[in-house]
């Protein structure tokens, strides 16, 4: 090969690198044996408390849901593990079929007509939904109305992604508008108008409340705008899907679908919409077809809308999908099935309600809001949330809830607690006891 490129030796390949930096002496400690390296890393890791060490009641967008063993058993197969984004897609029928199945299940879960092959996470999927709405209106409408109870980080990402597009993102400037829980008439105000491209709501919202979508789509469509719903896929095992309420785009984070917490990532953003908007959708779409011999096969029907096809005319610069993570979600949904997902959702629902009931009885703690909720709820605490969480962790080894004061100043001293199928009753009782003793 050296001869083919006209070079005499390996050293000659590096001749453009100045001699004094070619093979510098690095100030690194001596190499460790595998045993020593492992011991050192394990010691470091043991300084952390993880969700495996004790009860966890923290949610706020990343959830401790069960990851069945079947997910990893298939995920780690070499055929799936290595080839995440097919660039010669049709030669990779197995990967395409897995993505097709994932898309199909997301449609069933959300009640929508078409799903793409996934985005990075719920936040970017939400940003893409907003951009889709802007493009559906051919860049003629520049206002986006967002509920203040869409996840704060999702709203921040939407603003980051759309900067420079000349959009006015409104509706969440005053987060106090909405407590007590808002009703749908709230949207029928001057914010939703003929300049609005879309309304973005989340259900269950960041406070865990189930938003009433009935009639909302009609109000939004009456103004020619799109309804974007950010949904929790685990909740959809139990709740009526946003598609049935007339949503135009449904997005969310699929981390709860057998992905695990993984110290914050990777995650999975799902995106589902109506067929009429399919070409405004970013990302990939796998389709089912037949080959020259009439046998079923899969193809990238819509190649990533950003690379090689639309390029600078693309609506997004996201050129990928979360192939492996989408596969994990597909395995999870297939393994649990409709019945299993309903069971998971019911466990979350009932345990969260049990926890809320018991905590409401502790003096000093009070429940916030009277809207129905799913797996998370807010409580007002007698002390700052940080103090309570430090106590819970140090004394009881319990990971407490989220400090809502971080994002909503008027919710200082309010804790967002999350209860899932992973919190047995005994853990909830432990938490209640610990809070009572404070």
């Amino acid at each position: 090969m050296l001869a083919a490129i006209g070079v005499r030796s390996i050293e000659e390949l590096f001749r453009d690198v100045p001699a004094h930096v070619r093979f510098p002496t690095l100030n690194l400690p001596a190499a460790l044996a595998e045993m020593e390296a492992r011991w050192e890393l394990e010691t470091l890791a043991e300084a952390n408390v993880t969700t495996a060490d004790g009860p966890c009641f923290l949610g706020a967008g990343a959830y401790r849901h069960f990851v069945p063993a079947v997910v990893d058993a298939f995920l780690r197969r070499g055929e799936f593990y290595t080839a995440y984004t097919p660039y010669q897609p049709e030669i990779n029928q197995g990967t395409l079929q897995a993505i097709f199945e994932y898309q199909t299940m997301i449609c069933a879960l959300t009640g929508m007509e078409v799903s793409n092959a996934s985005h990075y996470d719920g936040a970017t999927a939400t940003a893409e939904a907003v951009i889709t709405a802007i493009n559906v209106h051919r860049l003629k409408r520049h206002k986006v109305v967002v509920s203040p109870f869409v996840h704060p980080e999702y709203r921040a990402v939407v603003r980051t992604y759309t900067q420079g597009m000349g959009l006015a993102i409104v509706g969440d400037e005053d987060p106090e508008a909405g407590l007590p829980p808002m009703n749908n008439e709230q949207w029928d105000n001057e914010q939703l108008d003929g300049e609005t491209a879309c309304l973005v709501v989340q259900t269950p919202n960041f406070l865990g409340q189930i938003e009433d979508l009935a009639g909302l789509a009609d109000a939004v469509h009456a103004r020619g705008a799109l309804l974007v719903v950010v949904a929790d896929p685990i909740a959809l095992g139990l709740l009526k899907p946003p598609g049935a309420f007339g949503a135009d785009v449904v997005v969310g984070d699929g981390q709860g679908l057998g992905v695990g917490l993984n110290f914050g990532g990777p995650s999975l953003g799902f995106f589902a919409t109506r067929m009429e908007y399919v070409r405004r959708m970013a990302g990939r779409l796998v389709g089912q077809t037949v080959d020259a011999e009439g046998k079923r096969g899969f193809a990238l029907t819509l190649s990533t809308r950003e690379q090689h096809i639309r390029r600078e005319k693309a609506t997004s610069n996201i050129c990928t999908n979360e192939g492996l993570v989408a596969l994990a979600a597909a395995i999870y949904m297939a393994a649990l099935g409709r019945g299993g997902m309903r069971q998971v959702a019911e466990l979350c629902y009932h345990r969260a309600h049990y926890a809320q009931q018991r905590i409401a009885e502790i003096s000093g703690f009070s429940v916030v809001g009277d809207k129905p909720f799913f797996k998370e709820f807010a409580v007002r605490c007698p002390q700052p949330v940080k103090e309570i969480n430090d106590y819970l962790l140090e004394e009881e080894g319990i990971i407490g809830g989220y400090d809502l004061g971080r994002d909503y100043p008027h919710l200082k001293d309010h804790m967002l607690l999350c209860v899932t199928e992973m919190n047995p009753r005994e853990e909830i009782d432990l938490l209640v006891e610990a809070l009572g003793e404070m």
């Binding site: 051919r138 070409r279 096809i309 639309r310 390029r311 005319k313």
Partner: protein
């Protein structure tokens, strides 16, 4: 390469043809052949106004997505709705059933600034 005897051509491969006091516009046979199978055409809305050279839409094929440019300035009076279900008409009959838009020209003399068939053919040959 097929040409339409009544059409004149832009350097960006759109053709324009007089239709009463309106102008009909599409893409040339050379353009549709270069693009290969067209799968989608994004057209403007009736009433939209453009100047010569403005982008009025996008044509998408299996290989590429290309902007469509107004050969003359004007206000859109009609768009070819059949392309929604049958984008392949642009490949099959680019000067007939594959027409894209009809518009009222803001300055009809801009038509004379376009190339005739022979000039367009030479232009394409030179473009390589």
């Amino acid at each position: 390469m097929k040409l339409d005897p009544e059409a004149r051509y832009a350097k960006t491969h759109e053709w324009a043809r007089k239709d009463g006091d309106k102008i009909v516009c599409g893409i040339s046979d050379h353009a549709q052949e270069s693009l290969s199978d067209i799968v989608y055409v994004e057209l403007p809305e009736v009433g939209d106004t453009f100047e010569r050279g403005d982008t009025f839409g996008v044509v998408e094929s299996v290989k590429a997505a290309s902007d469509l440019y107004m050969p003359m300035g004007g206000e859109i009076s009609a768009v070819n709705e059949t392309l929604g279900n049958s984008p392949e008409l642009v490949n099959q009959d680019p000067y007939g059933k594959g027409w894209l838009i009809r518009f009222s020209p803001s300055d009809p003399t801009e038509f004379d600034g376009l190339m005739d068939g022979a000039a367009y053919e030479a232009f394409v040959a030179e473009e390589g």
